[in-house]
Symmetry: C2
Subunit: 403 residues, 2 copies
Amino acid sequence: MTASVLTVEGGITAPLGFQSAALHCGIKKSELDLVLLTANSPIPAAGLFTTNLVRAAPVILSQQNLKKSGGHARGIVVNSGCANACTGAKGWENAQQTAITAARALGCQSHEILLASTGVIGVDLPIELTTAGIKTAATALTRDESEAASRAIMTTDPFPKEHAVTIQTKTGTFTVGGMAKGSGMIEPMMATMLGFLTTDAQVPPALLQQALNEVADKTFNAITVDGDCSTNDSLFALASGASDVVINDSNYQALLKGLQIVSKHLAMEIVRGGEGATKLVAITVSDAKSKDEARRVARTVANSLLVKTAVHGADPNWGRILAAAGRSGVTFNPSLATVSVGGVLLFEHGMPHDEASSKAGLHLQGDTIEIEVGLGLKSGFSATVWTCDLSAEYVRINGEYRT
Amino acid sequence: MTASVLTVEGGITAPLGFQSAALHCGIKKSELDLVLLTANSPIPAAGLFTTNLVRAAPVILSQQNLKKSGGHARGIVVNSGCANACTGAKGWENAQQTAITAARALGCQSHEILLASTGVIGVDLPIELTTAGIKTAATALTRDESEAASRAIMTTDPFPKEHAVTIQTKTGTFTVGGMAKGSGMIEPMMATMLGFLTTDAQVPPALLQQALNEVADKTFNAITVDGDCSTNDSLFALASGASDVVINDSNYQALLKGLQIVSKHLAMEIVRGGEGATKLVAITVSDAKSKDEARRVARTVANSLLVKTAVHGADPNWGRILAAAGRSGVTFNPSLATVSVGGVLLFEHGMPHDEASSKAGLHLQGDTIEIEVGLGLKSGFSATVWTCDLSAEYVRINGEYRT
């Protein structure tokens, strides 16, 4: 089954059945810092959360609520400026209070509310301000303010990130929308990735979770800015069903396609907006024994400081790429391996193609870089990981912001 | 058995029975680039080599020769300026030729020669220059030029690294010497760590290898500059026996102590001389389930860009330290964990000690930083990993050297 795709305006509220409100409640000094995203009733919801052992209160509460509700939610409260992480019993109470306030304002159960927070770690959420903000937001819900929502979840992201597409299938048209914030540092603590996907397709909770897992695997989980993984990372999907397109085996691929396009767009924007990033780098590893091994090699290359700085300096340094692959823990025969940059073969049969170096160097002067590593197992598996270059600006942002 | 230790001059030739010569043979433009280190006859030798799948020809040849000789060597040829890595069949021939030349000059078997190369990857070793250099070096061997040797193995190391100690035991006095080069970038390729240890204690090959493994574990293998691991990393130990102190069960600890002191000194110098490094950072993880788990957490914290930049900026950012520990793959209870910086407790019982922040910040302004993470398992295992901070200078050295 083929599905035709059209990019549309409207971000997270482009799909039917969703409303949002964004406002400044006072967590930050003057910028937008609170978003309420709602459906008209409790609808199927899915979530993916940080694998860090250290999880913020809103992460733990969202995981519990999804379980309690059997994968349903009426709304999501997102705040920026405070991560509500490492805040002990008080942090947990504040998270519960936030959910209760939103549930009362929307007329639902508190376990039908999901939470996401991003910002300073180890600082208490100003609960009076948040409570007042939620009450106001609940009276200001609209389909026309997705852009404000995508701004209100930012920390030091250089630009807001939202996207939406309609998917035409034989059984009807549905829409997928989304917004995300990336690995922007917020003084004085750490980065958080948050992602929100909405669709008006009708998808049962278990299938929505399956689709979210599949899509995240190739998009949000295939990007890396600095290899760090936060206490608050969360990705949510909500399905309102308002388009009346029922997702089943015959059109599941169309749902995947819609979620994938929106997620890929947002994930690439997160990398482009990485701290100090000047280049988007796609690292594709092919001819591997398994998809996992291909991804492991790609991730090791992506997180190599020597590779990231070489890309920043437009240096076609195949030696650093090969050496990163060689220490990934994946077994391969280096003399069968190949390294290409921008489609230019720089290394094969255990030796360099020095004559190709300047052509690869030209490619590296662009802002979208392709690195390919072949592991020599013909018709093997492949995987792509996206990252950004490492610039002195990254060090300045992360090391010198207090000065 | 206690052993008293005295620091002495003389580096790798401080122990009896060793000679060295260092010269400029023409691999580099004008600096010293070749070292010949010899014993008077084939003596017990041990080696530890890169775990990277991509290994340079001299690494492979040294591994083969140690096997063939049953752990004996007459001499080591070290060159800087060319890694002889990723150079195919010609690279292998050049390595063999180097060993043959040295063996003829010294009057031994070619498998009694060990090799180490550091420098540009993917470039052929200028074999005529190297051959001529070895012949000249063999006529210039002396006990008085260890400092020149420690300079000749440098690439972009900011300073040479050598150390030596005498160990007094009940059964006599022996000496341990050493030199190393660190993770300095050489245009246009990558970093290599090389280490050379000598002793005039009498140690059988198997015991020497065991001692080298034990000592490397706590020194050279417990440091990390950027997590990258090169094609050429090698560590050698040679035991001449010239002191007549025989190492056995009763004084094995004294040998370990000597090797450990010299290795620790050199390893710390490598970190201090790391690219762009301004601070030496010791990360100690305690109260872990096993030594391996403690080390895994310490290494994850040590390689976290967010931690390294925070240290550079003198920011007592316990959140980044805790979050790095939390993503290490090691299981622990965050609410039992503690984080201290410079002995100042910043996090315990799941919450921060904000009042201690400025005191920890003062410690971070120094050049020797202590970070401690407790995993909450009382009387558990601990491990220390040393690293350096991440500065904008690192990015400049590794990304912009072509401009």
